[in-house]
């Protein structure tokens, strides 16, 4: 973290008043203010997190006991598909874009994002994209039921009619992500305050810069693959239809060429957030800042060469299997090892355990468990037993739920006093943390066991030998699900009430964002701050 010893700029009182936010709905519809747009992204992400969560609870309720109790198989497949899509594209990515919108301008000393109007537009097309996607639940033939990875030909020749709505939804989400990425790169590269050189940028800004480049490189490929699907379904081409010379495996290659950088897009901002929080509560600068920046930068390129480890059982030639196994194992080291940097930051520090720090510690421990199961999956021969079982489900939920979601919650608790001006209610925060921590582990740890025992993925009903661990997972899912209501209560409570938060908020906090008063005024850094 760059040591910024800047004297508190005296924001003139009247400077704040005469162009505050507009009144009423117009404020939110026409806003070009990065703080308002950030809040809208975060609120939208929370709604999507709830909708995706309800679908997860339907899935876990059905899987509580063997036998079909709640839903019939086709609707169950729709739930798994929509749960995946909404959580990935609706909850995790918009939340990170919202945090970026809020914090990057303040962390680099910029008055606002580089392209404010495009910023507004890239938010406001998202609700409509998800309206299109969710409305397919009520169409004849039902919502998409071919998994969030929408493999052809199940998603082309054998798909319900609503697949076209799914395609347009993905197009719009892709457009929103690309515009957001362009905006963030322009802001970071061009609008830094004088003195805030690339050397001194906080790590959250660095990880988001790399994520933005990844987004620009792969979201168009996703748009390409869904356009190919659209042409296959409606315009009679045969990209993925073997009858006309196409190849379903081509779909898997193009999808995972997008897919693997996408999973890095979902975890790099989390690395940035955790690298901001742990130094603050350990009161010690991040260990190996340069290594972290360089390792994250190397992912921008290396994440493009390992995609086929998602396809070890598709029937690749031996050379392909060995190549992708070696490449995956080699690039796993630089990223996996970054966990040691966080531990080294804590070593000989002076730690306190407020809610953001608790979530960050849980991230380090549980994300590392997900990383280890990922390392096991990289072993190609063993992957023949793991692939498409609940072991894989456990792996990616460990890197996504205690990974991305916990880092988003940690970031929210960390920066909430700066946004709302009220100090956190620590006890409620800790209640939310411990409920989520217990819920996440009871839900996803048993999945390792049933996956290894032989339970395939995406099935609405299972054999009796998997019954007990599945009922445990379902109980855990309901604990985790309802504990998020505590999170909503905490956020709303903090917005309305709580003692006045100081500008510094956390004793160990460093960075430009802590030099503006809390709550952060509508316009910050209209005059660039002096950073020496």
């Amino acid at each position: 973290m760059a040591t910024v010893d800047v004297d508190l700029p005296h924001v003139k009182e009247e400077d704040q008043h005469h162009h505050g936010p507009a009144k009423g709905l117009g404020r939110w519809l026409y806003t070009t203010n990065h703080k308002d747009i950030g809040s809208m992204y975060l609120i939208f992400s929370l709604c999507m997190f709830m909708i995706g969560g309800i679908m997860a609870l339907i899935i876990r309720a059905e899987l509580f006991q063997p036998g079909l109790q709640l839903v019939e198989p086709n609707f169950f497949n729709q739930m798994t598909t929509m749960h995946g899509l909404i959580m990935v594209f609706g909850a995790v990515m918009p939340a990170f874009v919202g945090l970026a919108n809020w914090m990057i301008p303040m962390q680099v000393g910029a008055p606002d994002m580089a392209l404010p109007r495009m910023n507004n537009w890239s938010f406001w097309i998202l609700p409509f994209a998800f309206l299109i996607l969710l409305s397919s639940l009520f169409m004849p033939g039902g919502a998409p039921n071919f998994g969030w990875t929408f493999y052809a030909p199940l998603s082309t020749t054998y798909a319900p009619e609503s697949v076209t709505f799914f395609i347009f939804g993905v197009h719009i989400m892709g457009a929103s992500s690309i515009m957001g990425a362009i905006n963030i790169i322009a802001t970071i590269l061009n609008m830094r305050a004088p003195g805030m050189t690339l050397l001194r940028m906080p790590l959250f800004v660095w990880t988001w810069l790399i994520t933005a480049f990844l987004l620009i490189a792969v979201m168009p490929v996703l748009a390409g693959v869904v356009t190919m699907m659209l042409m296959d379904i409606h315009f009679g081409t045969s990209f993925f239809n073997a009858a006309g010379g196409g190849d379903p495996v081509l779909f898997q290659h193009v999808f995972w060429f997008f897919g693997h950088p996408e999973v890095y897009i979902m975890i790099l901002p989390a690395f940035g957030i955790i690298s901001e929080i742990i130094p603050t509560f350990a009161r010690k600068r991040l260990f190996g800042y340069a290594s972290m920046v360089y390792a994250v930068a190397s992912i921008a390129l290396l994440s493009f060469v390992v995609w086929a480890h998602h396809m070890f059982t598709v029937g690749m030639p031996l050379v392909g299997e060995v190549f992708f196994m070696f490449a995956t194992m080699l690039i796993a080291v630089p990223t996996g090892v970054k966990v040691f940097n966080w531990v080294a930051t804590m070593f000989r520090g002076s730690l306190t355990f407020e809610t953001p720090m608790l979530f960050a510690l849980a991230f380090v421990v549980l994300f590392t468990i997900g990383g280890f199961s990922g390392l096991m999956l990289a072993i190609a021969p063993a992957d023949f037993q793991y692939h498409d079982t609940y072991f894989v489900v456990a792996h990616f939920h460990y890197v996504l739920v205690p990974g991305a979601i916990f880092s988003i919650m940690a970031a929210t608790y960390y920066w909430l006093p700066k946004w709302t001006g009220h100090q956190l209610n620590e006890t409620m925060g800790k209640i939310h943390f411990w409920l989520s921590f217990v819920g996440v582990n009871i839900t996803f740890f048993p999945m390792h066991f049933v996956g290894l025992a032989g339970m395939p993925r995406r099935i609405p009903d299972y054999a009796l030998q998997f019954a007990d661990f599945n009922s445990m997972a379902s109980v855990g899912a309901f604990i985790f699900g309802f504990s998020q209501l505590v999170f909503i209560y905490n956020v709303i409570q903090n917005v309305r009430v709580g003692e006045k938060a100081t500008a510094q908020v956390w004793e160990g906090a460093q960075g430009l964002e802590w030099t503006v008063p809390s709550p952060a005024p509508y316009h910050t850094f209209s005059t660039p701050p002096k950073v020496d």
Partner: protein, 364 residues
């Protein structure tokens, strides 16, 4: 309280009963044990690294608390330490890659096979064709619908039982040619450690040499639509002699079936047999009560085809309707089965047309 204790015990001791199986199946082939050893090797490596990392972390959490007066130090960089803790895991991983490559190369062994079976994935059942013998049958889920909808008690092999299991000889190399008919499926038997995607329009191969005779169960492992969870795989491994016996039984049965097709059947013989065929082959989409699912699968009760001319009814069952989910059952059902299910559909499920069709009219 007892539940918590059993839970705690189960997490530590590897339980005997299958309900609490927490680890991978060791399997019954040399390869599956090799894979199990690789799995345990990488698992213990991860545990060791994990214990080290979390050890240091929890030590710092307890030792360097502000409340206990710890004052943070100011060093924040040490490239040599970083190089060490990057190079060591890399070396471990490279060491790990050698046995993994060896196992992978064993799996891609292309030596001559004794038995070759074509495995074709259909929407929601498997078809096995023995290339050297003239044996060809479908393997459907045998768990009754009542068990699935909780109206009847679930038997121990719930959802892992089929009407015609695949039969292979023990200690012989059996080569599977895996492909699909409609969407991508995946053929997986955990005890063989064989998993290969079945891709429409393309052919994949895999092989197994099973040491111990027995029954081994697996499931389709690639999302393939509505009944993805209801198309299990059951492989009966028999000794060499039993296998040859089974092959000759199959041949004899095939002749008998041909003979039976030329017999004349009475109405209620056909309807009775037809009900069984209907529940296995047709109830999946047209529902056991014949009402179908509006907007997805047409109803049989009062359907213009089932109550109209009999040969259009027979034609749609034999040749299916391309562009819809209605499959061609020509190769899936024998002439007797088709005659029985046609008569059943016309004289049950609320239809009472009164006519019937004999198997030999179907045959020509």
């Amino acid at each position: 309280m007892t539940k918590a204790i059993t839970l705690a015990i189960s997490l530590i001791a590897a339980p005997a009963s299958a309900d609490w199986q927490i680890n991978m199946n060791q399997g019954v082939t040399a390869l599956s044990r090799e894979i199990f050893d690789l799995h345990m090797l990488i698992f213990w490596i991860c545990v060791v690294i994990g214990v080290a990392v979390f050890g240091v972390m929890f030590y710092s959490i307890f030792k360097f608390r502000k409340s206990k007066g710890a004052v943070a130090e100011h060093w924040h960089e040490n490239t040599t330490v970083e190089v060490v803790w990057t190079v060591i895991p890399s070396i471990i991983l490279i060491a790990m890659a050698i046995p993994a490559t060896a196992t992978l190369m064993d799996m891609y062994d292309t030596s001559e096979a004794d038995v070759e079976i074509q495995v074709t994935g259909h929407q929601w059942k498997w078809r096995y064709q023995y290339l050297d013998e003239d044996i060809d049958f479908f393997s459907n889920l045998a768990t009754s619908r009542q068990e699935i909808t909780n109206e009847a008690a679930k038997n121990p092999n719930y959802l892992l039982e089929v009407d015609n299991p695949l039969v292979i000889p023990a200690n012989k190399k059996v080569r599977f040619l895996i492909t699909a008919n409609d969407v991508i499926h995946s053929w997986w038997v955990p005890h063989f450690a064989v998993k290969k995607d079945a891709i429409p329009g393309f052919i994949n191969e895999s092989w197994v040499k099973v040491e111990e005779p027995g029954v081994y169960r697996g499931q389709c492992t690639e999302l393939c639509g509505k009944d993805h969870g209801f198309m299990p795989i059951v492989v009966e491994v028999k000794s060499e002699a039993d296998y040859q016996q089974w092959v000759s039984d199959q041949r004899a049965m095939k002749l008998a079936m041909a003979g039976e097709a030329s017999k004349e059947f009475s109405m209620n013989e056909l309807v009775a047999k037809g009900e069984g065929v209907y529940n296995t082959a047709c109830a999946g989409c047209h529902q056991p009560n014949g009402q179908g699912i509006p907007g997805a699968f047409p109803a049989i009760t009062g359907s213009t085809i089932a109550t109209g001319a009999i040969d259009t009814h027979v034609d749609i069952i034999i040749n299916g309707k391309s562009g819809t989910a209605m499959q061609a059952f020509r190769e899936q059902l024998s002439a007797v089965d088709i005659a029985a299910v046609v008569t059943y559909q016309r004289n049950a499920l609320g239809n009472s047309v009164g006519d019937l069709v004999q198997p030999n009219t179907i045959k020509n």
